[in-house]
């Protein structure tokens, strides 16, 4: 019997106390953000904000205290994440490090890597980017060509990474590349690169169709990395990466990307919307409520040390569709012509998110990849 279980999320009363604290912090700290800034969501970058979040103890929350963590529960961490997203907080300076890079270092890093870097992440001081995709390797990671060749005292890297979000702002990159021979996923490794201390790396902007600069092309030309840059075991890159992906796929950022539209739409529609609008609002709230339950269930699984890769794919599959549906529904309920110049809260939010929406089912694994994973979970492949 096939089954795709989502256990009820564990109760977490302490998380609800924390929630009020987070809300108060965000209300104060974000008071001056414009609608367009909020609509950037987790692409929004503000190093000072991330340091404040770190100072509150809300980065690396589940990590051991000896590495700067706070030994709190996965559900408490979840509260912080979702409150940040629902408020449109500019989290990109710490988001990737908190979500996956820090967890990866904690799991496979050397003592030195853990001791030097994790506390800095937890303080909101170390921004990470992920050097994964390449021109010929998008969904197909096995097509990775970038190679680190062993030399005296370290490695020399050659190759090109693309779509590297935030590389131009980041302090560190986790690089995925080839180190050995072997077919497909064999012979790959991960490196932890200090971008501030490494030469022979060129970072060039890839402008998005909105004009924004989040993506970069990162070119390695005989780039020397010391031996200590190796992260985890040489040749174990593929395994390390795949367990990282479940962390990337089940969080609230996989279904809340358009939530701000809903909030602003409610403001526009007022307390007594048309029957048509009320039905749409109720339906969307039901979807969000359900996804939140599923996503918190995954947080509970992570806390128990289970592997929720399949459940994460399910959350992402459903969440991305919902995120993409929201701007389409909103434009049908509020007659408007979206415009990127607008300073109207609703229009500014709708316009930017409408343009970003198609990417929701690409980033972090495409819809096709997610469905393939689910099919594998069902035993079809």
């Amino acid at each position: 019997m096939v089954d795709l279980p989502f256990a009820p999320p564990p109760p977490s009363p302490e998380a609800e106390t924390l929630r009020q604290e987070v809300r108060a912090f965000l209300a104060e700290t974000l008071a001056d953000r414009t609608p367009s800034q909020r609509a950037e969501r987790w692409s929004g970058h503000d190093a000072a904000f991330s340091r404040k979040v770190g100072a509150k103890g809300w980065i690396g929350m589940t990590w051991p205290k000896r590495y700067g963590g706070h030994e709190r529960s996965a559900l408490e961490r979840y509260v912080v994440l979702e409150e940040m997203l629902a408020a449109g907080a500019p989290v990109s300076h710490h988001w990737i490090a908190d979500r996956q890079s820090g967890a990866l270092i904690l799991r496979v890093g050397t003592d030195e890597q853990k001791e030097t870097i994790l506390p800095r992440i937890a303080r909101g001081e170390a921004m990470f980017c992920i050097g994964m995709s390449e021109p010929d390797s998008g969904s197909d990671l096995a097509a990775t060509r970038t190679r680190a060749t062993k030399v005296q005292g370290g490695y020399v890297v050659n190759g090109t990474k693309v779509w590297t979000s935030g590389a131009h702002q980041a302090d560190y990159m986790i690089l995925f590349c080839r180190t050995g021979e072997g077919q497909r996923h064999e012979g790959t490794s991960q490196f932890l690169i200090d971008l501030r201390a490494t030469s022979d790396i060129q970072i060039r902007p890839i402008r998005a169709m909105t004009g924004e600069h989040h993506f970069n092309e990162v070119v390695f030309t005989d780039t020397f990395l010391p031996e200590t840059a190796l992260l985890g075991r040489e040749g174990d890159g593929w395994n390390q990466v795949t367990s990282e992906l479940a962390l990337e796929r089940s969080g609230p950022e996989r279904f809340l990307s358009s939530f701000l539209i809903l909030t602003e739409m409610l403001r526009v529609l007022g307390p007594e919307p048309s029957e048509r609008a009320a039905i749409a609002i109720g339906r969307l709230a039901a979807h969000i409520h359900t996804l939140r339950r599923m996503s918190r269930s995954v947080a509970g699984m992570l806390q128990n040390g289970d592997n929720p890769a399949l459940q994460a794919a399910l959350v992402k599959e459903l969440g991305n569709s919902l995120e993409q549906e929201i701007p389409e529904i909103a434009r049908q309920l509020v007659d408007c012509e979206p415009s990127l110049d607008s300073d109207d809260r609703f229009l500014a939010t709708l316009s930017l998110i409408t343009l970003h929406a198609p990417s929701f089912s690409l980033r972090g694994g495409t819809r096709e990849i997610m469905r393939g994973m689910i099919a594998r979970g069902l035993g079809l492949r």
């Binding site: 989502f6 403001r267 007594e272 109720g282 039901a286 359900t290 469905r371 069902l378 079809l380």
Partner: protein
């Protein structure tokens, strides 16, 4: 009795006693009396009432799990209805009759008239779409008396039945009621129990039944795709089939999560928000999953012999009962709009 024990009991019982033949006979109007006796003897039909009334004394969320399993087996019995009627009667302190029960009214806007009559009561009116009305030994009726919600236990000689069905051919009958009831057959409903609460309980129950039926759909459709060969390979190897099954998988998972949330809410004073979410989310998934399951099964799935239709027809029926997605979405949407934009997120996290 732990949750897993009751689940195991229900699973075993239904696996042993519910067959395609039994479901087909039920469509023809034959009541599955032997299976019902098993259900009753195992105590499943009273799982929602306190121990002193014959229940297990388990939290409602656990008791309601039975209905998810019943949905998974397309059980052609008034189990949900008997559980709900027993809950209503026990909550009012009335004795629980044996045998299958049902409840009335269930159609929006319908009300029955309850009036004093000597030392006893007079109950009258018409209630449409009553599930299993023809087979019920008694009906738990909720009616207002001078503004107070009262529960009445109505025996089979107190009403006439005009048979009707839903598209799964489950009985959905019109009851024409004109009955004199003894004093001890009527009592005030438990605190907080009114027509809205009964509709919410019904919605939660149908949500669980639907979630179970969708789990069965996923199971049988996956198996079919692995078994059926076309173009020289199992159709499970085609990416289009894989993706359709992934979509069924995702929506049935969401339906399951939402239904369990609704079940929990039954134990939390029938909290409106999660129950609305349950009915909205399972109802939406029901049509989608039924359509895709048929698409993957092809012609064979449309035949009477194949068991697929017992599940899909129930899904297409249950989503309309105790309020369809539109009714619950409207309720929820109006509530959220009235609360206002800045309360939207708090409402969701607090529900």
């Amino acid at each position: 009795m732990t949750e897993s024990l009751i689940e195991a009991t229900a699973n075993r019982l239904f696996a042993d006693h519910i067959s395609t033949m039994l479901r087909a006979a039920s469509e023809q109007g034959e009541f599955a009396a032997a299976a019902w006796r098993e259900v009753e003897e195992a105590g499943l039909s009273r799982a929602l009432v306190p121990e002193e009334a014959g229940g297990f004394g388990m939290p409602p969320a656990e008791a309601l799990t039975i209905l998810r399993i019943a949905g998974r087996h397309a059980v052609p019995l008034p189990l949900a209805e008997t559980m709900a009627a027993s809950w209503l009667l026990a909550g009012a302190g009335l004795n629980l009759p044996d045998g299958p029960l049902t409840l009335a009214p269930v159609t929006k806007g319908e009300a029955l008239t309850l009036a004093r009559h000597g030392a006893g009561w007079h109950l009258s009116g018409t209630a449409t779409r009553i599930p299993w009305g023809r087979d019920a030994k008694s009906v738990a009726v909720l009616a207002l008396h001078q503004g107070t919600p009262m529960v009445a236990r109505l025996g089979p000689d107190g009403f006439a039945v005009t048979p009707g069905t839903n598209i799964a051919r489950e009985p959905r009958d019109t009851l024409t009621i004109d009955a004199l009831l003894a004093a001890d057959a009527v009592a005030p409903a438990a605190s907080g129990v009114d027509a809205t609460a009964v509709r919410a309980l019904g919605a939660a129950m149908r949500s669980l039944q639907m979630a179970g039926a969708m789990a069965a759909l996923l199971d049988m459709t996956t198996q079919y795709a692995l078994d059926r060969t076309q173009f020289g390979k199992p159709i499970a190897k085609f990416q289009a089939i894989q993706h359709n099954l992934a979509i069924i998988g995702a929506h049935q998972a969401a339906a399951g999560a939402a239904a369990i949330g609704a079940a929990e809410a039954v134990g939390e004073g029938l909290a409106m928000f999660p129950i609305a979410v349950g009915k909205i989310r399972t109802g939406e998934a029901a049509g989608l999953c039924a359509g895709l399951a048929h698409q993957i099964h092809g012609a064979i799935g449309f035949t009477q012999e194949h068991s697929l239709h017992f599940f899909t027809k129930r899904l297409l029926s249950w989503r309309n009962e105790f309020g369809n997605e539109v009714e619950w979405s409207l309720l929820l949407g109006r509530h959220l709009a009235a609360a206002g934009a800045d309360r939207l997120w708090p409402e969701i996290t607090e529900a």
